[in-house]
Amino acid sequence: MNMDNSVNYSQQQLALNQMFKDINPALSARQAGIESSRCYYCYDAPCIKACPSKINIPSFIASIHADDLTGAAKTIYKENIMGGSCARVCPTEILCEQACVRNKEEEKAPVRIGLLQRHATDNAEFDGHPFERAASTGKRIAVVGAGPAGLSCAHRLSLLGNDVDVFEAEDKAGGLNEYGIAKYKLTENFAQKEVDFILSIGGITVHYETALGRDITLDKLKEDFDAVFLSIGLQDTSSLYLDNEDNEMVINSVDYIKELRQATDLKQLDIPKDSAVVIGAGNTAIDIACQLKRLGTEEVTLVYRRGEEQMSATKHEQQIAKNHQVRIKTWSQPESIDVDDNGKVTGMSFRKTYLEDGKLKGGDVQFDVACSAIFKAVGQKMAYPETEQLIPTISNGKIATFHNQLTSVDGVFAGGDCTGVGQDLTVEAVQQGKLAAIAINEQLNASITTPTTSTIAPINAALNKALSA
């Protein structure tokens, strides 16, 4: 991918960039050379099995080692067109790198697969897009939502010779890569560069600021297109169900991160100066806590009602928080949001918790944490547009999917966070988009009415031809 960084930044933007330097800097060519030599090129490689998008990791590492970055990047993009952002945001410590056999030997250090993937995707040079589209099938597919799942699906559909219209509610594509991932993980406007790279395959038209239920309806899309892929993500945040939760200094973390990600000047942000409390235990909680520290908030306390073991943020993420000097308080549940007579947030009260017969109970000990802002990061929910007439089956608050991402509605597929399959990882969204695209293509172009039950991407002639181009 073209990593042209010749953007003209304003002084404010530069100051902000300085504050949010890459948390995991790229490998130098020399480091990548040495690191790539550590791969054992395993038989039936565990890292591939652990990769949700099934990238042939030993193969791309071997290509890096043989100075073929083009080949390495193609191997990555073949399975995961967002290999660049996944290299940066994947929790590799619970995926490929956890599976690496080198954890088991005396060296106790996995090959740094994520950084090698980044090395390949950052430095490979292509004359145009790496893949050529297959001959046109004449089919048109609608993709709703231009996040990782939608973009991945659109790209694969285009690759297979279909034309795609992507409908995006925001004014930029990229989804959480653009609006939700911590700023220090995707630096230098990477999300938009990646979007441009994906779209450079051609055959994809993005309609911005076009939202399902407001500007378009699933009914109409079904009528106008041969198939529909829903990747609408999650729109709503969970509540603490406490008084004063509507105070302006009780903030949804995802909203704040979105503002931060789009900000070009620190002055655009309302930054708590002395202290803030973050409620939650997932990666969003860690992200907001660390970003507040970087923005200059003196004391950030992350509070979770259970223990470190139960936190959905990985150990690696927890360590990042500790490195940012975020204070983590576990076994503490929020009781009240404290506000003074002027309506200003002054702190939060908590009750210590404990487990009894597997159930969380409130104990006798209470404590307060003074703060001027509270950031909620207790999960997100899907808010399917209420105005819609045609609604696929919703299960556990998310769109139910069956074999190869098909929903309950014929010709309508779904993927990404709105489906609730997996752990809401970018790489899972990419894989779901890819599998849906392959299934849609099969259904439309091979007259197959039931998508294949195989979880392995079916190989067809067009795919092979396109990928070997």
């Binding site: 020399r30 050379g33 040495i34 030599s37 054992y40 090129y41 395993c42 038989y43 039936d44 490689a45 565990p46 099995k49 080692h65 056999v101 080198r102 088991k104 030997e105 005396e106």
Partner: protein
């Protein structure tokens, strides 16, 4: 504390580590730094007739291993490019200042007796301990009828060696070229000519690689290159093999050997000595890491000798020679089979991949419920080739274990499967 000192064909040295004739021994400045660092001796960079050789700019290239370390080294430098007079003067001064260190002078002259006679007298006058005849340089000099051009013709080797013995009282070491089919022939010729010792190997004709943009080998001199002489760790196996050939050839057995080729640490040195070398010469490792490496070499060799109870170099010199034999004398009734230690196995499957694709399909793979694989050996299929052991990245995970066949020693000459066997 083991005694590392040696007496090599009358040349005394506090340790067996000598710097080979090469750029590191080009002049007094380098040689004295080497002695200060602790080297037991040096072979002074090859002297020739005046006018001195002239070198090109861009002289070395290398082959690198996976970590970017130099595994092979290539040079197109000629013999000394300084005048005979300067070299002789410096040799005299250095030997005077460092009487306890070995100082051997390397020589390369045209094949004319008078020329050799003249230079030998001059070298003898310096007080040097001996001469080494450079019959091995594979680049540049052979085009002028010297170096490997002599070393490749046993008759010339014998002739020049004889002149040297006739016209000097110094020990004569003949340096052999590996660029030859059978190294025993020039070794025998050297012995016939009266050589006190041979040293080997000189460098091997080499091109380390092609620059695919410039479409030229390296080192590049104005867009063109030429083959050079190869040395460094990569040539050690070739050097060891040739050393063993001379050590166990009945015609040259006992002829002192100075071992050269890829020696970079005490273990390499011990291996050459085990194959019969009485001194060892080092160049590439010093060129990459500097002279101080001799400290660890001496220390390591000494510690290892102590651990083995060897009091001096002679105690283990040549001990591996009787165990280096002809293929036809190997025991056909000996059998080893691979064993995989499941506790140590990390599941990389390299052994399976290698055996299945390229060897004898003697490894099974069993998929476990957790997605990992377990590998096992099919004893009946295993031929004991060691490939799995070699591919395995874990120390002592795959071992080659001896299996009793219940049969006595029987070599190929006695084997009924051999249609040409020699009946008892």
């Amino acid at each position: 504390m083991a005694d590392l000192s040696i007496d090599f064909v009358g040349i005394k040295s506090p340790n067996p580590f000598w710097l080979a004739s090469a750029p590191p021994t080009d002049k007094a400045y380098n040689v004295e730094r080497a002695y200060e660092a602790g080297w037991g001796g040096v072979v002074w960079k090859t002297l020739g007739e005046d006018p001195a050789a002239v070198n090109v700019s861009s002289r070395y290239s290398a082959l690198y291993d996976h970590n970017g370390d130099v595994s092979g080294f290539n040079n197109i430098e000629l013999i000394t490019d300084r005048s005979l007079e300067i070299n002789l003067r410096e040799i005299t001064e250095v030997k005077k200042r460092w009487p306890d260190r070995a100082l051997v002078v390397s020589l390369m002259m045209p094949c004319e007796e008078q020329v050799w006679k003249r230079i030998l007298k001059l070298v003898e006058a310096t007080g040097a301990d001996g001469v080494e005849l450079n019959f091995g340089c594979p680049h540049g000099m052979p085009e002028r009828g010297m170096g490997a051009a002599v070393g490749q013709v046993p008759e010339y080797v014998e002739m020049v060696t004889r002149w040297c013995k006739q016209h000097s009282n110094m020990p004569v070491i003949v340096k052999l070229t590996p660029n030859i089919t059978d190294v025993r022939l020039p070794a025998r010729a050297a012995k016939s000519g009266g050589a006190d010792a041979v040293s080997l190997i000189n460098t091997i004709n080499s091109i380390t690689g092609i620059d695919l943009d410039a479409m030229s080998a390296r080192p590049m001199v104005d867009g063109k290159s030429t083959h050079g002489g190869y040395c460094g760790p990569a040539v050690k196996p070739i050097a060891l093999s040739m050393t063993s050939e001379i050590a166990r050839d009945p015609e040259t057995a006992g002829l002192p050997i100075s071992g050269i080729g890829g020696i970079g640490n005490w273990k390499d040195a011990a291996e050459f000595i085990a194959l019969g070398a009485g001194s060892v010469q080092v160049c590439t490792a010093a060129m990459i890491y500097g002279f101080n490496i001799v400290q660890e070499m001496k220390e390591g060799l000494s510690n290892w000798m102590d651990s083995k109870g060897y009091e001096n170099i002679n105690d283990f010199k040549g001990l591996a020679v009787p165990n280096t034999t002809d293929w036809k004398k190997l025991n056909m009734n000996y059998k080893v089979v691979a064993t995989i230690d499941e506790d140590k196995c990390i599941g990389c499957g390299r052994c399976y991949q290698a055996c299945e694709d390229t060897s004898h399909q003697a490894i099974t793979v069993t998929s476990n419920d957790d997605g990992t694989n377990t590998f096992g050996i099919i004893d009946d299929n295993c031929v004991g080739c060691n490939l799995c052991e070699i591919t395995c990245p874990v120390d002592d995970c795959i071992t080659m274990d001896e299996r009793s066949t219940g049969q006595p020693y029987m070599n190929w000459m006695e084997d009924v499967r051999n249609p040409h066997r020699e009946e008892a």
